[in-house]
Amino acid sequence: MKLSALQQSYTNRRSNSFRAAGGLDSSVDGSGKSPAAVFWLVLHGLCCLISLVLGFRFSRLVFFLFFSTASNGGTSGLYPSTPFLGTTADIAGSLSFQANSSPNLELPPNRTAGGISSSRVVVGRHGIRIRPWPHPNPDEVMKAHRIIERVQREQKLQFGIKNPRTVIVVTPTYVRTFQTLHLTGLMHSLMNVPYDLIWIVVEAGGTTNETASLLAKSGLRTIHIGFDKRMPNSWEDRHRLEAQMRLRALRIVREEKLDGIVMFGDDSNMHSMELFDEIQKVTWIGAVSVGILAHSGNTDELSSVVHKKAEEENLPPPVQGPACNSSEKLVGWHIFNSLPYVGNGATYIDDRATVLPRKLEWSGFVLNSRLLWKEAEDRPEWVKDLDKLDGVSEEIESPLSLLKDPSMVEPLGSCGRKVLLWWLRVEARTDSKFPARWIIDPPLEVTVPAKRTPWPDAPPELPSNVKEISIQEHTEKRHAKSRASRSKHSSRSKRKHESRTVDPQVSAKVSEE
């Protein structure tokens, strides 16, 4: 809407008159040079010269000093901005005849527009009002956040799921180095779920204080049960035991007649919040797509060969889940293709090989808890009764074994196209040590003192034998940590390099002992 300065100067030249300052009620426009016009011209030139000398537009300062109380904005505590910066631009502005930027010492902007005297709103230069402390006020910020929260709650009520059902999460776990890592991640995801939640944690080897203290931090409603067997070392056996632990949890759902949607949240998986919104749509049993992040234990030549082959053959993306045809009906299942990894899969937990998922992971399925109840009125006939399975005689590989008719599974997440959770298995060695509850007690000794002040430059003199022992203990701890770091998911070469350089030293030390 406002044209450039060029256009303005064009129009000024067109109107063929010197526009006096802000010319609202000066009647100089259009008429010839009268003494008043000459006077204003001289004054204007004088002001320009003064500005040139001073180096800034002093008209604003004078205006502020003389007219601020009279101006319509001059309330106490507020002041217009006086830009003392950008001087060259100001000088240029004051020297040229651009109409609107002429100094208006002479014109207090109180004159009303045109002939209408009743208007409060005036045309002309106004001050820019800035309050004395133009920074956010923490009380206001909190109030605003509460308003936003209320608005979002209302949005959820209107557009979100009506009548949300309780989510029952079944998690098999056991105490190990990475348990805190995995369980904290899962716990935080569950704490963010906006629906009612019941968390059934089945622990292999019986309930422990470690797990219990972790669960207590969540503030969620948890059912913590122990399972008598210990978690075995091989992946095969582990999967079998986990299946049994899950069945145990399902039996609890049945006994306590818990009402809601059962989902299997393995502690090492990563769930997105959309998953919990999506599973509310299930009627009886549903399936979601699981992203499989199968990684190799290290960048050995063996596994790099496997990877190259995989890339050459253009394998489909590693997603497990329902497969649909064009009319959005379930026609089959996408299963992880383990052929390239045949013979190279990890058998034991700390193997330096790819950890493979099962054909169909439990975590990709959700059930309506009424499927598991003894007598539910409208339970469909294609569901087996839970009591008939005991998990020992037959292999329960996936929840599909609960169904007589696997085609009744509902595909969720826009028919399996959305990946709502990711499967990832990262574990440390079974015998890797970690401080109980990750509390270091007694505190670690100082092995290498810091060289900065206030520490003294010379380390405190320790007796020589104590030094030897401390160094050995230190390397042992590092040994355990380095082993664990090797089986970490990130294949950063630096860390691998580090571990390998430590390795020969450590192995040398070990051989010494």
Partner: protein, 416 residues
């Protein structure tokens, strides 16, 4: 027996009215009825309530201008062109001028564009004058009332004052020949020369398809508190600030540039429309003129407009209760904007959002092609219909003349 039948009928009546009331309550949970000072008129149908005669002007007044520069169809002043097209095919149009209540003159005064796309208003007064001379000499209806039953669409910055600079516009005043006609304009400010008594304020044109194509799912949570994208200082024309927006936009920037609640900047993001749908409040401060398309965008996207423009007259002000829908902040209160906005009770905010969610509200702000019931075209016609019937005294006695055809700046009298 008769008695019982009457009782039965009365009971039925009561039951049906209760059911209607309940349905309104259910519908009203998510949206609310809009009642302005003119009543619940947003859904009125103007067909049958008025008749409009469209003058056939030579194409140099409309078609040729548009052919010269088709950008006129997409800028914010495109309402004049679309109004013409709507009236040509509307059922309110009549081909018999004797039975017409209103007369429309299709002259595109805002279609002379600079290379940048901004309209130059310098020839507009002459164009309008020439059009009026044409209709007054070829048809008797102008002279009958000296234009009191004619209406013109003048969507430019300051309406029929035909200038983009406020001081110049005020000096010129409304074109003298239009002082008896009804003006349909976007500019509206109380006690201002360029707003005539009885004018109809309309929203600026915003492209409906473009806005519809940027809708996001309504369950996306609104996480931005205050949103604004645009200039704070017009560096080309007013580098220091103080003139542009009467210093209000600069005040917004200086006070809130580091406030995390205010998502304000001068960028032109691709996700402008999507961001508005994720915001609770959208600032609509004045610029060089008090109106802005942000109001329309805010209404369409459900973002509560925060109007910072003293004495502004908003579109269809008699039909839409803007006080209940938007938040009005005086320009002198801009430094306390955060206090003002956070002290609004959440129930009030939710109510405003419900009013904004009303589909008739959104429709009333748009100029869709082809026209749909309840849109801005129909609201204009409703406004014109509300001014009927014409007063008897607008019809001049024979020989009586009120307008002075030589009034106004000398440059305007040159033929176009």
């Amino acid at each position: 027996m008769e008695f019982w039948r009457w009782v039965f009928c009365v009971l039925l009546l009561i039951a049906s009215s209760l059911r209607v009331g309940a349905e309104q309550l259910r519908r009203g949970q998510r949206t609310e009825r809009i009642s302005g000072s003119a009543g619940d008129v947003l859904e009125d149908n103007p067909v049958g309530r008025l008749k409009v005669f469209v003058y056939e002007l030579p194409s140099k007044y409309n078609k040729k201008i548009l052919q010269k520069d088709p950008r006129c169809l997409t800028h914010m002043f495109a309402a004049e062109i679309f109004m013409h097209r709507f009236l040509l095919s509307s059922p309110v149009r009549t081909l018999n001028p004797e039975e017409a209540d209103w007369f429309y003159t299709p002259v595109y005064t805002t279609c002379d564009l600079t290379p940048n796309g901004l309209p130059l208003p310098f020839k507009s007064p002459r164009m309008m004058r020439s059009a009026i001379q044409l209709i007054s000499s070829n048809w008797p209806y102008w002279n009958r009332t000296e234009g009191a039953d004619h209406f013109f669409v003048v969507p430019h910055d300051f309406g029929a004052c035909f200038h983009y600079q406020e001081e110049k516009a005020i000096e010129r005043g409304i074109l003298h020949l239009l002082q008896r006609a009804t003006l349909v304009q976007t500019f509206g400010q109380r006690n201002h020369v360029c707003l005539k008594e009885g004018s109809i304020t309309i929203p600026p044109y915003a492209p409906p398809q473009k806005m519809q194509s940027h809708l996001i799912p309504p369950d996306t949570p609104r996480s931005i508190f205050v949103y604004f994208r645009g200039l704070f200082y017009d560096v080309g024309n007013d580098p220091e600030g103080g003139y542009y927006a009467r210093g209000a936009r600069a005040a917004v920037w200086e006070n809130f540039k580091d406030n995390p609640l205010f998502d304000i900047s001068t960028e032109h993001p691709m996700t402008y429309y999507e961001d508005m749908q994720r915001a609770v409040f959208c600032l609509c401060p004045l610029g060089w003129a008090p109106w802005s398309p942000r109001l329309v965008e805010g209404v369409i996207f459900g973002c509560i407009p925060v109007i910072i423009a003293d004495d502004i007259v908003l579109p269809f002000a008699d039909a839409i209760p803007w006080e209940e829908i938007g938040v009005f902040v005086a320009e002198e209160d801009v430094p306390n904007l955060d206090t003002i906005l956070t002290s609004i009770p959440p129930e009030v905010i939710l109510r405003k959002q419900r009013l904004l969610a009303n589909p008739s509200m959104k429709q009333a702000m748009l100029f869709p092609q082809p026209a749909q019931p309840g849109d801005a075209f129909h609201q204009i016609l409703n406004g014109l219909a509300r001014k009927l019937p014409h007063d008897r005294n607008i019809y001049l006695k024979p020989g009586e003349k009120i307008l002075n055809w030589t009034a106004g700046p000398v440059g305007d009298l040159k033929p176009w």
